[in-house]
């Protein structure tokens, strides 16, 4: 089955093309085309994954370009990470598309939406299958385009338009770093192939300095895509897109591309201690930074967006502390439970048509399916024992501890606590308390929306069991198979109290949120006062947008103003001087041709006089 894996991204592409061509005529039926093709893609991915369990890595490349002595190849590769990613992406995409059938009902540009989804799925699947960096970069940019289109789907909304542009530009900053990194890497190793690059890295051809530089540049690309500090500001704004899009792109797949990139290039990062440090510290800082913002936000999707940033920071932290398995494991579990949370949030929004959590409350009784599913997702992300998030988060904490970086470990623990706190704050504010609406106004979502949530809910519960300290570390062993020396241990062994600590901070967070928001035993303003400076700073996301606006945007505005004036006056003046002088010369020339005989005579005589004077002055005749 693996030799046919190239079909996996082709299916969504076909769906995209078909919808693009005949989508207008199909209208809502267009959705089924997208779903069927994505289903095919998912089935194939699943079969590929099954086969990969027993078969070795399959790689198939075709020669694409020969440039001098270098051959560029195009093809696909199925290794453990790729196979896993394929399944995650196609599964989430499939579920989101099914969910959208209900969520997007009544939307006029239904088929366009599915066309975009198909395009994005194609780009994302292509990205994870890429066997070399050029192809990866190619699909990396296509993913950006897909994200741009989907965020700006409600293009008639000013915020959506701005958010789409912002997302595109912010990720582009990272992309430039990635591109420079790729070029430098090619310069150093002469190849874009992962295998050859890693070989060159391990044989030590590249100096330590440039290795660190390359790794950090590639990490900059990952920072842009994964919304890490300081390029994170686009991700919360991207919530202007439809909620299923948020679930697909900004929770499960695209933002994970940055993590995937670091995981793919893991041997390169391992070779540079400084780069690993940079990844870990950026991840750790982003995790706690975003978690603190998420604790005060009032828009349900924004809370989830900051939570996503925080969790991505967690993954980066794991990778940066050599916890390859932990990072990938958390990537997988996070994809499931965060997609679940987004879809559930979408279901809530669908039911009551607001995103402001202060206007929600008491929905537990009304939304009989959404409520428990949201609870499952919340428990999973908080690291509640026996759910998927518990195992993956535990793995990350273990990795941080065994790596010996206790500062980052403490950061991670605090973030765990904050995660549990803000997720349950969200949960209680939506579902607990007294209802603020009439019963008939609140309707449970249709089954077509609940089904994908159910699937994700099940996965959010059980997906953790493939890698546990108790029942075996199946995932880790499989992931590092054949690469034990590079990727590290399948499972980080740590003291048992780490797990107990993780559980207790999670429970503490839940308890605090329960006290504050469900029981109101503690005043809601107990910890951070509504009008205190700290609260305002958090509410305004540390004023990051404002800082960017007043520094970078203004600076660029100034530069462009200067350049525009330069263009208008200096260059324009130069050009008009040239044209003016030529025009003037022409005018003088045409004036000479006046037809006035006397003028001609005058000019002729003038010439004669000048010659005579020159002659007389320079030693004339008879002298």
């Amino acid at each position: 089955m693996m030799e046919n894996a190239w079909l996996i991204p082709i299916f969504p592409l076909v769906a995209f093309l078909v919808l693009l061509l005949v989508g207008g005529r199909l209208r809502e039926r267009g959705a089924y085309i997208g779903i069927i093709f994505t289903l095919a893609s998912f089935m194939l991915s699943l079969l590929t994954l099954m086969e990969r369990f027993s078969a070795p890595t399959y790689k198939k490349t075709l020669e694409w370009l020969t440039l001098g002595g270098t051959q560029l190849t195009a093809g696909f590769e199925i290794n453990q990470l790729n196979a896993l990613m394929l399944v995650i992406v196609s599964l989430v995409s499939l579920l989101v598309q099914i969910y959208s059938l209900g969520y997007m009902k009544g939307e006029g540009r239904f088929s366009t939406f599915y066309a975009y989804l198909g395009f994005f799925t194609f780009a994302m699947l292509g990205l994870v299958m890429a066997p070399n960096l050029v192809q990866l970069y190619f699909f990396w940019e296509l993913v950006g385009v897909g994200s741009f289109l989907l965020i700006g789907f409600y293009f008639y909304k000013q915020e959506a338009k701005a958010a789409a542009k912002k997302a595109f530009i912010m990720t582009r900053i990272g992309d430039v770093g990635l591109l420079i990194g790729i070029i430098l890497l090619f310069w150093e190793t002469g190849s874009f192939e992962y295998g050859e690059i890693f070989q060159a890295v391990q044989s030590g051809v590249i100096s330590d300095g440039s290795l660190t530089l390359i790794a950090i540049l590639i990490f900059v690309g990952a920072v842009g895509k994964s919304g890490q500090f300081p390029l994170h500001t686009w991700l919360p704004d991207a919530m202007e897109g439809p909620t299923p899009v948020s679930a697909l792109i900004h929770a499960a797949t695209m933002v994970a591309a940055g993590v995937y990139l670091v995981a793919t290039m893991f041997p390169l990062f391992l070779a540079s201690e400084a780069a690993m440090q940079a990844v870990a510290i950026t991840g750790g800082f982003t995790a706690i930074f975003a978690a603190s913002i998420a604790s005060v936000q009032k828009d349900v999707k924004r809370v989830l967006a900051y939570s996503t940033i925080s969790q991505l920071g967690f993954m980066m932290l794991a990778l940066g502390t050599a916890g390859y398995v932990a990072g990938v494991f958390h990537l997988m579990t996070h994809a499931f439970f965060k997609a679940l949370l987004f879809l559930a949030a979408g279901s809530v929004i669908h039911a009551i048509h607001t995103q402001d959590i202060e206007r929600m409350g008491g929905l537990w009784a009304r939304l009989k399916w959404t409520g428990p599913l949201f609870l499952v997702g919340t428990l999973a992300i908080s690291g509640f024992p026996l759910l998927s998030g518990f195992f993956s988060k535990d793995e990350i904490l273990m990795a941080a501890w065994t790596n010996g970086n206790y500062f980052l470990f403490i950061l991670a623990v605090i973030t765990s606590f904050l995660t549990a706190f803000y997720m349950f704050r969200l949960f209680f504010m939506i579902f607990a308390g007294e209802s603020r609406r009439q019963a008939k106004q609140v309707k449970e979502s249709p089954a077509i929306m609940l089904l994908p949530m159910l699937v994700l809910g099940v996965l959010a519960v059980i997906s953790g069991y493939i890698q546990t300290p108790w029942f075996g570390t199946f995932l880790g062993e499989w992931l590092v198979e054949g690469n034990e020396t590079v990727l590290g241990a399948a499972h980080s062994e740590g003291p048992a109290w780490v797990m107990i600590l993780a559980v207790s901070v999670a429970l503490a967070g839940i308890l605090l949120a329960y006290m504050k928001y469900a029981r109101t035993k503690l005043p809601r303003e107990g910890l951070v006062k509504e009008n205190s400076t700290l609260y305002r700073v958090l509410e305004n996301k540390y004023y990051m947008d404002e800082i960017y606006y007043f520094t970078i945007v203004q600076m660029i505005k100034g530069i462009s103003l200067f350049l525009s004036y330069m263009e208008r006056f200096i260059i324009g003046g130069l050009i008009s001087t040239v044209t003016g002088s030529i025009e003037g010369m022409g005018k003088i020339g045409s004036k000479l041709q006046s037809g006035q005989v006397q003028q001609y005579g005058m000019i002729a005589f003038l010439g004669l006089a000048v010659l005579l004077v020159i002659f007389a002055l320079t030693g004339g005749y008879l002298r």
Partner: protein, 104 residues
């Protein structure tokens, strides 16, 4: 033989030539332009006659040639005026500024 030196005649001729030149190039009336040209020819004639007496090799030839020049000037005046007449008949003007049909 003391008398007027050659250079005095030549300077007089030069001054008359310059006046004639100025008139020929600035006056707008075609008749005056023609007369100015006659003046320039006269200045040249003075030179011829002066050199015939006070030149390196004094000879009557200078006077003979001045007669030729006068003849040419007379013929030129006649033809010039004839052209002027026909032009005036066609364009109702003797203004030199307006005589630029060859340009178009």
């Amino acid at each position: 033989m003391t008398g007027v030196p050659l250079s005095a005649y030549l300077v007089l001729a030069l001054v008359l030539f310059c006046i004639g030149l100025y008139g020929a190039l600035t006056k707008r009336n075609a008749v005056i332009v023609l007369i100015s040209i006659e003046l320039m020819l006269n200045a040249a004639n003075i030179n011829l006659v002066a050199f015939s007496k006070l030149g390196v090799t004094p000879s009557i030839t200078g006077q003979v040639f001045s007669l030729f020049t006068i003849t040419i000037a007379a013929a030129e005046a006649a033809v010039g005026l004839a052209i002027l007449m026909s032009l005036y008949r066609n364009r109702k003007t003797v203004n030199v500024d307006e005589m630029d049909i060859m340009k178009h």
